[in-house]
């Protein structure tokens, strides 16, 4: 946690209300998201108990229940209901533009990272490779939905294809409670948007009384309600009327438990939509659309495979990609949002100040004795700046302009020279002018290096697995 975040947490605790940590919204919000909440059987994430989902808040959400979560046939029968709806929802995003990219992409919204991991990870994994032939085949929709869920379970940093409400909210707000307490969506919303007459902590306590948002259910409810209903299911035997009665009762109980969390997801979206989107959000959504397009093409061609264990070449490529996306997200958020940049200024990584003078015509000599243009900016820092001469910084407004801090004198002013990006006639216009308030950040435009690609796994990474006899 950086110094500014710490300050904001203390401020939130003192004011008894969450503090905004951003001035912009850094996630894309779809106009028609699919909001999903669910429970699995306690201690068995592979046994879904119920899912509640819907694309419009003013409509009653759909609900599936598995009256005996340990029964495989019942599990797939129930998942079929969800799968059919999911496939129908996703099929709305198949329209391509002239360039072949889907014009819009789906967005799943879940209450917390736990639910995201459960659906995209475990549920996706145990359904995506099910065979639809054989003795007791699951409905064809289930493995298809499993592949889609696996896609949503493996997204890159900065992606908005799947939004975990608690993650999205804590990116934009700081509460005065512990990070582990922020994992409770209802309590978190209490801090951010307390009902009239309540302050943050009181509203959070109220939220904690609400049924859990999943994927784990309330153990008291398990014991008092669920256990009895499962018992009734077994008592009902093969009697369709008795079965329907138990199902109806279970669905009623589940709605009571999960619909509040489903509504809270919409409340979270309301909070987020009120913030104006950051400039780079559209760019990240475009890459989400491209990722979705590629996935949907692979699904159409029957090529959507998910390796549990990637090859060393795939893992290396994936890691490099993850690293660059992680870094880009950090930079873009700081460029888009002065409050995010302020955290860097507070920690001393970035420098904010007022421009005192700009010498655009300054020249120096390089190592070979040749003249080179090195404009100099002198500024009065807002905070003490304790980075040594030689530190590289970039204009936050024009990250292509690379600067170097010069040795300072006793005046308290900071002098920086332009290394590149604003030392040619056509780029000099990017220099600030005296009187401007500017920020020099550590984030420059990402540099691209030409890399050759390793095609085949080389001998250094080829593990020969010997055929060993069963022992």
């Amino acid at each position: 946690m950086n110094a500014l975040r710490t300050h904001q947490a203390l401020q939130a605790a003192a004011e008894r209300r969450a503090v905004t940590t951003t001035t912009r919204r850094h996630v894309h919000l779809s106009s028609s998201p699919l909001v999903v909440v669910g429970y699995h059987l306690a201690g068995d994430p592979g046994a879904p108990l119920a899912l509640v989902w819907g694309t419009a808040r003013d409509e009653t959400p759909h609900c599936m229940v598995v009256p005996e979560p340990r029964n495989r046939a019942l599990r797939f029968e129930a998942l079929d209901e969800f799968a059919i709806d999911l496939l129908a929802y996703l099929s709305r995003f198949e329209v391509r533009d002239d360039g072949g990219t889907c014009v819009d992409a789906p967005q799943l919204v879940v209450p917390n990272a736990g639910t995201a991991e459960w659906l995209g990870g475990i549920v996706g994994r145990f359904t995506r490779n099910l065979r639809t032939d054989g003795d007791a085949p699951p409905p064809a929709s289930v493995p298809l939905a499993g592949k889609h869920l696996s896609f949503f379970g493996d997204l890159l940093p900065g992606s908005s294809l799947m939004i975990a409400a608690t993650d999205a909210l804590t990116l934009h707000w700081q509460t005065g409670q512990l990070p582990s307490e922020d994992l409770n969506l209802a309590a978190l919303l209490g801090w951010i948007d307390p009902p009239d007459g309540l302050d943050g902590p009181a509203a959070a306590r109220l939220g904690e009384q609400a049924p859990p948002a999943g994927p784990d259910s309330d153990p008291n409810w398990d014991a008092d309600v669920l256990a009895d209903l499962i018992r009734s299911w077994h008592v009902a035997g093969d009697d369709p009327a008795a079965q329907a009665a138990v199902r109806g009762e279970l669905e009623g109980e589940i709605r009571e438990q999960l619909v509040p969390a489903w509504m809270d997801c919409w409340r979270a979206l309301d909070q987020l939509v009120a913030l104006p989107a950051g400039d780079h959000v559209a760019g990240r959504w475009l890459s989400d659309r491209k990722v979705w397009t590629a996935h949907s093409a692979r699904m159409a061609e029957g090529r959507a495979f998910f390796r549990n264990i990637p090859t060393p070449v795939q893992a290396a490529g994936r890691l490099r990609f993850l690293e660059s996306r992680t870094q880009n997200l950090q930079r873009e958020m700081a460029w888009d949002d002065p409050l995010v940049m302020a955290a860097l200024v507070a920690s001393g990584e970035a420098l904010a100040g007022r421009v005192v003078a700009v010498d655009a015509d300054r020249q120096t000599f390089n190592a070979n004795g040749r003249r080179q243009r090195r404009p100099m900016i002198t500024l009065e820092p807002t905070l003490d700046f304790a980075r040594p001469a030689g530190t590289n910084l970039y204009l936050s407004r024009h990250p292509s302009v690379k600067l170097e801090v010069l040795p300072n004198d006793a005046s308290g002013l900071i002098r920086v020279e332009v290394l590149k990006g604003a030392n040619q006639t056509k780029t000099l216009g990017l220099l600030p002018t005296a009187g401007d308030e500017i920020v020099l950040s550590p984030y420059g435009r990402p540099e691209f290096y030409q890399r050759s690609t390793v095609q085949e796994i080389p001998w250094t990474h080829l593990q020969l697995v010997e055929d060993s006899e069963e022992s």
């Binding site: 290396a316 992680t326 304790a386 040594p388 080389p458 250094t460």
Partner: protein, 446 residues
């Protein structure tokens, strides 16, 4: 039957011959574990000199600094009469050759391999080797700092080189990523493993040897570092009387910095403990204490005595080792300010993080303890490799600066890091290593 080698020098020479014997016998992969300053770079250079007679030898290092140091080592060898080799330094487009070797005879700098085809030995960081066209191939290459190299960086090397000598220090910092690595943890051949671990997994017949003697660490340090951080023990190659620091100028005023320098000169270690107060990473008092020690070291007119002779201590012989980059920046700034104030060349001291100092050597190292001023002992700060790197860069003496209360911090520490299925536990527990080091340092407190 061979006679048992008696002196450290003979033991080291015997190991070198053993390594060369393994290579000439046609081993596809050979791994040499080397404690700090055990002549790893000397070994790499010597093998390079011997092997180029058969084919050009690529040397893969991990950073530009290491590549430049490797070149400097070759230049120094030739000055001492070693057979000259034509050197190539392959580098990225924005790299500037350092002034001291820019105009060296028999050395070619280039960003393109085509300019270097008649070089005997080509030195470049792994990241640069990853950019060359993989149509090239070499029968044999040397990888330096194989425990610092990430497994994914070895992929292009494996694609071009058909046999490898990997050399590295197993006590160093393991490679890391800034990205979320959950997806890669505990996987076989994870890209986050070290190159050395990868080769040991895929090539079970790899010959694994260890260099037995540290030429860098003085005898006061070798035992501690060997006990606290290494599975295979090693000894110092020098006797206590062979290394000495003597002050030319007695300290004008008594103070902790003067005491620290005096204790370090006498015993090879000194521990400056500040008040036990939780502080942000850029603790200004710790910065000041470090600056004081550096000023004292430079103003004391210290003479260095070792197996090569006696010479004055230069600012560039001193390093300050820190944990975080903002600590590095604060110390550098404070030293620049001190220079402006006193005119002493304190800013010529090397200040860097443990990650950057890995594999480098100095006469005296001032260490900002990784746990100083913290309230928690996180895995990052407990990392045995980080502490080991910081405490094993020096030939003469090491001065550690820290806030008090580290023992309480270690005692009150509850680990919060997940345990990954399929991932082998580290052979060294940072928690125990820290305690062992702390016990030792307490004896040298000033």
């Amino acid at each position: 039957m061979h006679a048992e080698p008696v002196t450290p020098a003979e033991a080291a020479a015997a190991t070198r011959e053993q390594i060369w014997g393994t290579l000439t016998a046609g081993a596809r992969s050979t791994l040499v574990d080397s404690p700090p300053g055990a002549g790893k770079s000397t070994l790499v250079r010597e093998i390079g000199r011997r092997a180029h007679r058969r084919a050009q030898v690529p040397i893969v290092v991990q950073t530009n600094d290491q590549a430049d140091d490797m070149i400097r080592g070759y230049v120094a060898d030739q000055r001492r009469g070693a057979a000259p080799v034509r050197l190539g330094r392959l580098h990225a487009g924005d790299y500037l050759p350092p002034a001291d070797i820019r105009t060296q005879q028999g050395l070619t700098f280039s960003k393109s391999l085509t300019d270097l085809h008649d070089c005997d030995v080509i030195v470049a960081p792994a990241a640069k080797w990853a950019t060359v066209d993989f149509d090239h191939s070499w029968p044999f290459a040397i990888v330096d700092e194989a425990y610092q190299m990430r497994s994914d960086a070895l992929l292009p090397i494996g694609a071009m080189m058909s046999s490898l000598l990997l050399v590295g220090d197993p006590g160093q910092l393991a490679p890391f990523t800034t990205a979320d690595d959950t997806r890669f943890r505990g996987r076989p051949l994870s890209p986050l493993e070290t190159a050395a671990a990868t080769i040991l997994t895929t090539q079970p017949e790899t010959v694994r040897l260890a260099l037995p003697v540290s030429w860098r660490l003085p005898s006061q340090a070798a035992d501690l570092i060997s006990d606290a951080f290494y599975e295979v023990p090693f000894t110092a190659g020098t006797q206590p009387h062979q290394r000495r620091l003597s002050r030319g100028i007695a300290s004008l005023h008594r103070g902790r910095a003067a005491d620290a320098v005096n204790t370090a000169a006498r015993r090879g270690w000194a521990y400056v403990e500040l008040d036990d107060v939780p502080m942000p990473p850029t603790d200004p008092d710790a910065v000041q204490a470090i600056v004081d020690v550096v000023e004292e070291l430079i103003s004391a007119d210290i003479a260095l005595e070792d197996e090569y002779g006696t010479r004055p201590l230069l600012p560039s012989d001193i390093a300050v080792g820190v944990t975080h980059r903002d600590q590095r920046d604060h110390v550098r700034t404070a030293l620049q300010v001190a220079r402006a104030r006193t005119g002493m060349p304190v800013d010529e001291v090397v200040v860097d993080t443990a990650n950057v100092l890995q594999g480098r050597e100095f006469q005296i190292v001032v260490v900002w303890h990784p746990l100083s001023g913290r309230r928690d002992a996180s895995q990052f700060h407990l990392d045995a490799g980080r502490l080991c790197v910081l405490l094993s860069r020096h030939r003469q003496a090491c001065i550690v600066v820290s806030r008090g209360g580290i023992r309480d911090q270690l005692a009150g520490h509850s680990p919060t890091e997940p345990v990954w299925l399929g991932e082998s536990a580290p052979t060294l527990d940072g928690w125990h290593a820290h305690l062992a080091v702390l016990d030792h340092l307490t004896d040298h407190a000033v």
